[in-house]
Symmetry: C2
């Protein structure tokens, strides 16, 4: 499958690498063509890897992951948008505001989410919120923890798109999914960030996940 | 032990009832003496139960639970404050803003919490944030789920106060605690509410809790 990655940070690199290892062709995108990190990644990741602008990635990909930072995620998705029409965009972003230092605050107060903003801006793109509640390494290797016995939250307006994302994530080892319904479910997982960040500080490790006990 | 409950809602009634069942004397407080719900609760709960104003509760209690709604929690704590000096206030509240309908939004965007506001307003009171991540029934009967194998988050500036609260909550059946550090940890659990509310809607039941998998 031709898969796009928006963003050149650790999340994009990690997901991109895992996809290449599973035989996909991956293009990493950034604001400008020839981005130093994207070029270095593509060179290292081998012949199935390439790089380009966000717009290039939108045109190339059958499915894309939005792995940009919260303050750039809507712009990145919008730049990739024309090529992504009718396609799936897995939105991995979190609304973290680092403008006042650390720990970051949020852009919202339970009243909106990046997932919803992107879906509103790109009504023809099938936005699926997922993976934003865990560390990059665990995103692609969930079985590192308790054999994978923890939960991944997923939200989006398009049931078939969610099913396709679940199928892809199963190849990473995910087995337990909680479908939070339409894209407004992104509000739920994006506001989990302050707890995630606090637990990260408490444990001095990002290698943890949630299991919902019922 | 003489324990106070601020608030006459379901959370206060449930915690109050569980404390009476364990032999404590409990006073339920509200804005005005003779509140209809508090009087009815005290009459039903038996000779160990009483009711009064928030101020009465502060004076009576050795330890109190703040079980008011988010928009009234700071005022309730402040009204009880003079009597609570040097004592423990377990803050169970959540910053839910119902002014724009349902689902509620939050009063904060990762930049503050009710627990912190109350601690700042009452520097001589030992505020401990706890129990605000679960349904009232599970607060006092955690073993209903997975034999109690799920986590309770706790935060506060005073280590001895946290230890005393943990000791009390063990009598409800809690066995697994995650100490999130000082009272700013309240920010973490209070912002979990959008996820809790969404899961409630998804499961059509409030009987669930979190286990952190590491």
């Amino acid at each position: 499958m031709k898969i796009g990655i928006l963003g050149t940070g650790m999340v994009g690199e990690t997901i991109g690498g895992a996809l290449i290892a599973r035989g996909h062709d991956v293009m990493m995108g950034s604001r400008s063509a020839g981005n130093e990190k994207a070029v270095a990644w593509a060179a290292k990741a081998g012949p199935r890897a390439s790089q380009g602008t966000f717009g290039d990635v939108g045109a190339f990909a059958e499915l894309a992951f939005n792995c940009t930072s919260g303050d750039g995620s809507l712009a990145a998705a919008t730049a990739a948008g024309p090529g992504l029409r009718g396609k799936i965009l897995v939105d991995v972003t979190n609304p973290l505001d680092f403008s006042k230092g650390r720990p970051p605050t949020l852009f919202f107060r339970g009243d909106d989410s990046l997932g919803e903003q992107i879906q509103r801006a790109l009504p023809d793109v099938r936005v699926v919120k997922a993976l934003n509640t865990i560390n990059a390494r665990l995103m692609v290797e969930p079985t590192k923890l308790a054999g994978g016995a923890h939960d991944l939250f997923i939200a989006g307006n398009d049931g078939a798109a969610k099913a396709a994302v679940i199928e892809l994530l199963r190849t990473f080892g995910w087995s337990s999914f909680i479908d939070l319904g339409d894209i407004s479910g992104a509000r739920a997982t994006e506001h989990y960030m302050p707890l995630w960040l606090r637990l990260y500080g408490t444990f001095q490790s990002p290698e943890f996940s949630i299991k919902i006990v019922r």
